[in-house]
Amino acid sequence: MNKILNIFLTFILTAFFATSTFAATKVVWWMESSADTDPTVQEMMCDAFNAEQDEVELECVFKEDINDTIRPALLSGSGPDMFDTPGASYIKIYQDAGLVKSMQEYADQYGWQDKLLGWAYNSGVFDGELYSIPKNYETMIYFYNKTLFEENGWSTPNTLEEVESLAAKIKAKGMNVYAYGSAGWQPTHEHLVGNYFNTYAGPENVYKALIGEKKWTDPEFVEAIELLRKHMVDEGYWSGNLETYYSLDWDDFNNEFATRGSAMLMIGTWGFNVTATNFGESSDDWDWNPLPILNSQAGSAPNYQLATGGTMSINSSSKNADGAAKVIDWILSDKARALKVTGSLGYGAWLLPLKYTDADFDPNIDPRQKRFLTEFAEASDSGNYGYTTWTFYPNDPGVHIWKDMEVVWAGDITPLEFMEESQRLWDQARADDALVPVGKR
């Protein structure tokens, strides 16, 4: 009897240790959920990773409102091995609280700095160490109805005078200049503020204000806000008037643009997919351009505002940090694969900031999309880049921009008062050491 028991116990223990020793390390990753993209990400990233190797088993968990979900999980000392955040300003808070792991040793080991675009890598460096990597990059551009422009003999605008002259012609035709709206997403206003800061005050001045060498109350910023107020309230460039702009949501304004309700759509590059889809059902053709420069002090060449749309990081309490780093390295290691994934998502998500070359692109890529990817890389490499508020602003000044812009539009405060409050919040954030990193220009 004892012999049988011994054999049984030996078998059980052997099986246990063998399982423990040879089982793949399990890495859990909480990702921001999006019904449109989750199945593709699961198939092309998570399942593909698991199929290619057997050292690490990756489990992708898609969560709504990731920041609200991850916060209590991290605070309780648990949570997944890897997680997404909406952007660098959140990472700064997690880093201060010791909730996110430094990835510097992995970055050095795997050479991530060489793989990523310089500005994108720097956006995750806090106190000299890497804490996050952008999952996606984006910038602000404008789309236009090419057929409509050709029919009317309109040229795409490059200066303030050209914008205002074209706007008058478009309005005379009974159309709105730009389609856009903020219903369902109040922070939409910050897209417009960022556009005017970068194309009127200019990226150099924005950079100086970000690092504290200039005041946000300087005339160029106040004038930029005044110009935005004029275009929004007095001229009704966006969807005809301020109230309609407040009432239109994503589907409304995209539909308005595709059906000639508006001639142009000033939006982030996440708009490529929906524009291509909507125009696919129309006889009209579309194209895009970088934003027009509204003031000579913003330079003469177009600038692309830098923005990261979501980041990936490792939980400081993860017991499988090495496995998580392997997952990240796998994602960053194959540019063709990365482009295939983002291409499947219409280049609106998972556009990793890698150093792409012409050879990496699928020959079937839409030439307009390819032009963006290459022109953005060239412009940002040669220093022609600006700054979005949602990537380079700390929380409080960032929220102020989109919350209080409405107060300016309502005429309750002046652009100068708006910028004075902005400066006060920046001073406070600087005193609290709450600033997010801005790479040197």
Binding site: D68, R71, L74, L75, I93, Y94, D96, A97, L99, A183, Q186, N241, L242, E243, T244, Y246, S247, L248, D252, E256, N395, D396, V399, K403, E406, V407, W409, A410, D412, A434
Partner: protein
């Protein structure tokens, strides 16, 4: 086993224990913590620094908070009048309907059982400038509702309150109706003999007889108006230009958008004191002999 452990009193405590335990950790403890957090500058994650009464000083300088308090007062006044009057009238009229009353009760109560997001989407669609009523009027050549009332700073608060009231007065109808059914019929019969009009019966019999339920409804309205949040958040997010911002919305923005958890706790504490004053006020009325 000691006798006190098996006494009736002890057994009742055994049954209460799970509720008290859960209440302490889910409600009481976080509330106490919130009272302490209002004296700090905590951002929700990192180190907690004691800042004394700084948050309270900031609160009294905060123009948005002042605006939000004003909006909460307007909100409360609106809810204490419009839905109450409408519900009283409808409930009184319903008592006179003998056939198909259940149908009307269902119709009035239906919006109350719908999720707030559904109610909001219905009304957002109705007031949509392109495909709502405004768009329809425009097609008829009439310039009416061309701009959504949710999008105009002059009307946003009232428009949101309208949607919330539309969903709420069915609830009042049901509780008033319940009270009215408990009034003794002999009182109405006596009034009929005296030749009282319908209004006189309502004024001198129905209203006094349902006073406990009526006052209870007022307390509920005042207390529920303090943390009002969902309709504002879904329809306007407090905009445009804070024209529909209410205190709970401001608290949410401070805690979860601006990451000023300490300051948000201060707002929460003020809301707590305000509700405490209301409850205290009604407790005094009760002691003075009011049937509250």
């Amino acid at each position: 086993m000691p006798k006190f452990l098996t006494s009736i009193n002890a057994i009742s405590w055994y049954f209460l224990f799970p509720v008290i335990f859960i209440h302490f950790f889910v409600v009481a403890f976080p509330s106490i913590l919130s009272l302490l957090l209002c004296l700090t500058d905590w951002n929700g994650f990192g180190r907690i620094n004691y800042v004394g009464l700084e948050n309270f000083q900031e609160l009294f300088r905060d123009r948005v908070f002042k605006k939000a308090v004003k909006h909460n007062i307007i909100w409360t006044v609106m809810f204490l009048t419009i839905p109450v009057i409408v519900a009283l009238v409808i409930a009184y009229l319903l008592t006179g309907i003998k056939r198909g009353q259940l149908f009307y009760r269902l119709v009035y109560f239906f919006p109350y059982i719908l999720a707030s997001i559904v109610n909001c989407l219905i009304w957002r669609y109705i007031f949509h400038p392109r495909h709502g009523l405004g768009g329809w009027f425009e097609n008829q050549g009439i310039d009416f509702l061309a701009k959504s009332p949710f999008a105009m700073k002059e009307t946003a608060l009232y428009a949101v309150a309208w949607v919330d009231m539309w969903h709420f007065w069915g609830f009042l109808v049901i509780i008033y109706l319940t009270g009215m059914y408990q009034v003794d019929d002999s009182l109405y019969e006596a009034a009929d003999i005296e030749g009282a009009t319908k209004f006189q019966k309502f004024r001198y019999i129905t209203l006094p007889m349902i006073r406990p339920i009526f006052v209870l409804s007022l307390i509920i309205i005042i207390i529920w108006s303090v943390p009002t949040f969902d309709y504002v958040y879904i329809l306007t997010m407090g905009g445009p230009a804070y024209s529909s911002e209410v205190v709970a919305n401001h608290l949410y923005s401070q805690a979860f958008q601006r990451m000023n958890v300490g300051y948000a706790s201060t707002i929460g504490v003020m809301m707590f004191f305000y509700v405490g004053i209301i409850v205290g006020f009604f407790a005094i009325l009760r002691r003075m002999g009011w049937e509250v």
